[in-house]
């Protein structure tokens, strides 16, 4: 889509920026996928003689291109492993939220009555509390094991999918194709999965691109606070949290992961905006 054909409000949908954003996200995905091959936990052995070394360009050497941290661990290896953790948690979390929300929304639409009311009430409650507070309360109650933490992060955003899936299922039920399937003897399950789902997939995918960076920010925020990913695992948020203490002497410990997160969020925003304009002109906040 060129700038001339962009929609009336002239959203910053410059194609080369979108290409750049895709390239960056692709690079991150590649790093995450190959993390096991290019960096091993062995690369994270501490070496107190070479602690707090600056990155290349600030007096550092090729031995540690991004410098070292407070224990003399190589920052590059740490960043690679952290990108893997953060992307993995965000991806699994986004999928959990999408599947849960969509299912609940569809079930609510088909059942009606009490079930519908109950689901919509939960949506209301969810919308009335900032999610990070709920997540913190859950961590306070149940501790922060990795599996549990992923589930907590996964609950984020389910209410959006639920709302969309419910509304669109209700609308689609009245459409000819759903009614036709029903006349041919198709049950709610068959109609939902085989006929309605493909029709609302575009909107759900757009919601997914909005949710993914927010899920990543939630994970990194909680890890930054020291309540998310726990050592020996490392996430970009954990690194930033560690780097906070060394801001005076070693700024790179905080700045390197911070820049990576910010660029990832920026890229997904640009991509999401562009996708939204292309796939679903009706879905604007």
């Amino acid at each position: 889509m060129s700038a001339e054909t962009s929609s009336g409000d002239g959203r910053a949908s410059v194609p080369w920026l979108v290409v750049l954003a895709c390239a960056y996200l692709g690079l991150l995905a590649l790093v995450a996928a190959l993390a096991g091959a290019i960096a091993t936990p062995d690369d994270l052995t501490s070496d107190l003689r070479s602690r707090l070394l600056p990155p290349l360009g600030f007096g550092g050497t090729w031995a540690h291109p991004l410098g070292t941290d407070e224990l003399g661990r190589d920052m590059l290896a740490r960043v690679i492993l952290s990108v893997r953790t953060s992307l993995f948690v965000a991806l699994v979390g986004t999928i959990i939220g999408a599947v849960l929300g969509t299912t609940l929304g569809m079930v609510a639409a088909w059942s009606g009555g009490f079930v519908d009311d109950a689901v919509m009430m939960l949506v209301d409650v969810q919308a009335s509390l900032p999610f990070i507070i709920l997540a913190l309360a859950a961590i306070a109650l149940m501790g922060s094991g990795l599996g549990l933490f992923i589930v907590v992060v996964g609950l984020f955003g389910w209410e959006r999918y639920a709302r969309i899936a419910r509304g669109m299922t209700l609308a689609a039920r009245e459409d000819g194709y759903a009614a036709a399937t029903a006349h041919l003897g198709g049950g709610p399950w068959r109609i939902s999965v085989q006929h309605i789902l493909p029709n609302i997939l575009g909107t759900l995918v757009v919601t997914l691109t909005i949710n993914f960076p927010e899920t990543m920010l939630l994970e990194t925020s909680l890890s930054f606070l020291g309540l998310g990913i726990q050592p020996p695992n490392t996430s970009l948020g954990t690194m930033l949290g560690d780097g906070r203490t060394y801001l005076l002497t070693a700024w790179w410990i905080a700045v390197v992961p911070g820049v990576i997160i910010s660029l990832a969020a920026l890229s997904t925003s640009l991509l999401g905006d562009w996708l939204r304009d292309r796939l679903d002109p009706n879905l604007r906040r």
């Binding site: 409650v125 900032p130 913190l136 509304g167 990194t220 930033l240 911070g258």
Partner: protein
């Protein structure tokens, strides 16, 4: 109109009751409350005392009603970190947080409105594009990183501002910017598209055709109509403000509710966490109710209209 108000108030009350119920259920589901609230080496008399205080020896429904009664009396249990009532521990932090969040709200509103209006009025010019790009950047940088960057530049390098603390107006500057930036970016984009939508409407073209000056058209005919959709995001913004407060207060060691939340969660001080959750839920539900009512007052169609699907 009265029916509309009663309906909204009922919904708010039900939402709040649901939050309280969920809190009750999850506290019970998390295991023996006596074990959770009391230190593990608590003497058996104290455990019994605790059980009878909270009515744990009675049926669940009675327990639930007692729980509601206690909350209504402001009894949220004891903080086991320092033994005082949780409501006191939380209450003494409220003024600092209100000051910080209040200023941040004003900051984001002023900056967001200014940027959004400027962008809309200079639609499709380089200035508009530049503002939009800045706003994308503004909500992409996570607030914990923005806070650290500000500290790095203004406290470590330039030494203009103190990096932590809560004494004097200087300590407010960086936290307010940190919390307000994301919201300002969202408001700016929202105001811009709301304005652009209204500018094309017939009543605005009519006002222009009557030869009214640009300022009058914008202030008298465009802004009031653009206010309607903007009001709806305020509840959403408030949630962001609270979430931002949790992070930002921790970054700048600001002694408010946000930092208390993090320390209470880390120490698993459940009474305090519970008090904070209910306090925030109550403020959010109230704020959303106000927004709904304001929305109904601004837009007559909402009052008369059906519930949206």
């Amino acid at each position: 109109m009265l029916g509309f108000i009663i309906g909204k108030v009922m919904r708010a009350i039900i939402a709040l009751l649901l939050v309280v119920t969920l809190t009750f259920v999850s506290l019970r589901a998390a295991g023996d409350p006596a074990a959770a609230f009391l230190p593990p080496d608590a003497p058996i008399q104290q455990v019994d005392q605790f059980r009878s205080n909270w009515g744990l020896d009675r049926p669940v429904l009675v327990q639930y009603l007692v729980y509601l009664g206690n909350l209504a009396h402001g009894d949220f249990g004891q903080s086991f970190a320092d033994g005082r009532p949780a409501i006191v521990v939380v209450g003494e932090r409220v003024p600092k947080t209100l000051l910080l969040l209040g200023l941040s709200f004003v900051f984001m509103l002023v900056l967001g409105l200014a940027l959004g209006t400027t962008a809309a009025l200079t639609h499709r010019t380089p200035l508009d594009r530049a503002i939009m790009l800045v706003t994308v950047l503004g909500y992409s940088v996570p607030n914990f990183f923005l806070g650290l960057l500000l500290i790095l530049v203004f406290a470590v390098q330039l030494r203009w501002l103190p990096s932590t603390g809560s004494d004097g107006w200087q300590t407010l500057i960086m936290p307010v910017i940190t919390i307000g930036t994301t919201g300002a970016a969202i408001i700016a984009r929202f105001v811009r598209s709301a304005l652009l939508e209204v500018v094309g409407k017939p009543h605005v073209r009519a006002a222009r055709a009557r030869g009214l000056r640009d300022f009058i058209v914008v202030a008298g005919h465009v802004l009031p109509n653009a206010a309607i959709p903007t009001v709806t995001v305020i509840g959403f913004i408030l949630g962001g403000l609270i979430a931002g407060g949790v992070i930002t207060e921790t970054v700048f060691a600001w002694p408010g509710i946000g930092r208390l939340t993090v320390t209470a969660v880390a120490a698993r001080d459940l009474a305090v966490v519970q008090a904070i959750v209910l306090l925030i839920a109550a403020s959010m539900v109230t704020a959303n109710l106000m927004v709904d009512l304001l929305y109904g007052w601004l837009d007559p169609r909402v009052r008369a209209g059906k519930r949206q699907p």
